[in-house]
């Protein structure tokens, strides 16, 4: 499965469920401005763990928190490798 495509799909899905208006998911988009609040982000990460089988946040105590959408995708792509 393409990691980026799955992430985009889950962003859309969670935003819809939580009634949030999702900003266009460009590489430079700051996650804080994506339209998802903390709870939505938490649900997103949980869903991605189910679908991709990884939680890169839990994988390392020293992994950087992602700031942009590109950072977020990189985080998953690097763990999936």
């Amino acid at each position: 499965m393409n990691v980026r495509t799955e992430i985009v799909n889950q962003f859309k899905q969670v935003a819809q469920e939580q009634g949030k208006r999702l900003a266009p998911l460009t590489d430079g988009l700051e996650l804080m401005n994506s339209g998802l609040d903390s709870l939505s982000m938490a649900i997103l990460v949980s869903r991605l763990e189910d679908s991709l089988g990884v939680d890169p946040f839990m994988a390392s105590e020293d992994a950087q928190f992602p700031v942009t959408f590109r950072d977020f995708v990189n985080l998953y792509e690097n763990v999936a490798k």
Binding site: E17, Q18, E30, L31, M32, N33, S38, L39, M41, A42, I43, V45, S46, R47, D50, D55, F57, M58, S60, E61, D62, A63, Q64, F65, P66, V67
Partner: protein
């Protein structure tokens, strides 16, 4: 450590510091100096009417509540701090339990169910002149709300002295300290920071209802915040913003949730000049201890070596006795808050490994989603209303953003069918029901259909705690 004198009201305590350092309280929209506040009234000069009253403080903006608290402590017999997002339908039962005589609010409350409350005082933070000095001689009860099993909040009774028990008062003019918090001051963790600032002559920066995390960081940074607190979830959110670099705090404090090693490491990395501390406190048990070694869990020696706080582990959970604990629940139905010996059972389960204690969950299964408590029974009760549901078990799932999420295991009346068929529809219906009935953090992130759930001989569901 010099703690607050029992007889002092907040007004009096602040009055003894303002001349030295002229502190202020500010949000991005509103600002007042404590000197102006002490000289005037945010209650339209009607404070004396409330002498000896029980008052609900139900405002949209926390800075307005802050001003009202300062004016009413010592004057009112009781103040109830309604937290943000409190569902309006709970207000009548809270007013009844608190025997409220008055409501202070910055909005119009039209619920006829609270018409019995005698007076309504509009308070929008505007300070008007008042024709009296420092009134009031009550040791006011400060009532905080905390989540209850049935959804209706529990009312926890403190005094200014119990709330301020962990704060070293006075020492005004220590100079450059400016406090801030991601918390709302109407929750225990935020109230601690509010009182810490007020009792030490320090300015305080607060968010308002409409402030985003990024804007708040920019605001706090621009005003030179030096000391700042929040839950691990608040901090994770902050660190996922490029604005995290707009503050350069000397002191970073975490509380309200388990501080895991990852968030402690991240904070140390982003704020290399900050002392990073995580505190253990609950609304009922008060502030117990602070850990300064930037390591998750706490040294076993903390249990016996914390001045003024007695702690023990019994049946696996942490019990606390100190002058900082709340005195009681206002509603008798919630039972005693302490045991016969005065200990509060936090129900937080501890695991001892290599002379260090680690938090591993709660005996009562309570789930902590970003600092907000969820009682599983409350969510199960909603899920079980669905006609296709035989029984359900709500449990925690670890999460790196909010610490935990709520998930539900559900047994259907008919055997689970195919994923694509009717079950998915039932899943959606259950979620819809939950979204209608529950606050967003209580809605299960996932619903799993399972064939059975383990039931003990007592007939109760077996809950796993961690």
């Amino acid at each position: 450590m010099k703690t607050l004198q029992n007889s002092s009201s907040l007004w009096e305590a602040i009055n003894s510091t303002v001349e030295v350092c002229d502190p202020f309280v500010s949000s991005p929209e509103t600002k007042f100096t404590l000197r102006d506040l002490l000289a005037g009234s945010v209650l339209g000069g009607r404070c004396q009417e409330l002498s000896g009253s029980s008052v609900l403080i139900s405002t949209t903006d926390q800075i307005v509540a802050a001003a009202a608290l300062i004016e009413l402590d010592g004057v009112a017999r009781r103040m109830v701090l309604c937290p943000p997002g409190l569902p309006a339908e709970y207000l009548p039962s809270i007013a009844k339990s608190a025997e409220a005589d008055a409501i202070v609010s910055d909005r119009i409350i039209e619920d006829p169910a609270i018409a019995s409350v005698g007076s309504f005082i509009h308070c929008d933070g505007r300070i008007v002149p008042k024709g009296y000095g420092s009134p009031g001689r009550y040791e006011t009860e400060w009532v905080l709300l905390t989540s209850g099993t049935t959804g209706v909040p529990k009312l926890v009774v403190h005094t200014l002295a119990s709330l301020a028990g962990a704060i070293s008062v006075g020492n005004p003019g220590s100079g450059h300290v400016t406090w801030s918090t991601f918390y709302d001051i109407r929750r225990y963790g935020g109230l601690q920071i509010f009182l810490r600032a007020m009792l030490t002559g320090t300015s305080l920066l607060l968010s308002s209802a409409q402030t985003s995390t990024a804007d708040f960081l920019a605001f706090a940074g621009a005003h030179g915040v030096t000391h700042i607190s929040g839950t691990p979830s608040h901090w994770r959110r902050a660190l996922m913003s490029s604005s995290a670099h707009l503050i350069a705090p000397e002191y970073v404090r975490l509380s309200g949730e388990i501080a895991d090693q990852a968030i402690l490491n991240h904070l140390a990395q982003v704020y290399p000049n900050a002392r990073i501390a995580h505190a253990f406190a609950t609304t009922e048990a008060g502030v117990a201890f602070v850990v300064n070694d930037v390591t998750t869990g706490f040294p076993a020696s903390v249990l016996t070596g914390t001045p003024g706080v007695e702690m023990k582990v019994e049946n696996g959970s942490l019990r606390i006795r100190s002058p900082r604990t709340a005195s009681r629940y206002l509603d008798k139905e919630h039972g005693p808050l302490k045991d016969a010996n005065g200990f509060v059972d936090t129900t937080d389960l501890l695991d001892l490994r290599n002379e260090r204690y680690y938090f591993v969950g709660r005996r009562d299964g309570v789930i902590n989603v970003g600092g907000l408590k969820v009682h599983p029974e409350e969510v199960e009760e909603v899920i079980n209303r669905h006609p296709e549901v035989r029984m359900s078990l709500v449990r925690t799932k670890k999460n790196p953003i909010t610490g935990a999420l709520v998930v539900a295991d559900v047994v259907l009346r008919s055997a689970p069918g195919s994923e694509s068929g009717g079950d998915r529809q039932i899943q959606q219906d259950i979620l819809l029901l939950c979204r209608e009935e529950l606050a967003p953090h209580k809605v299960p992130a996932t619903i799993n259909f399972v064939a059975t759930l383990a039931v003990a001989e007592s007939g109760k569901l077996i809950r796993r705690h961690a």
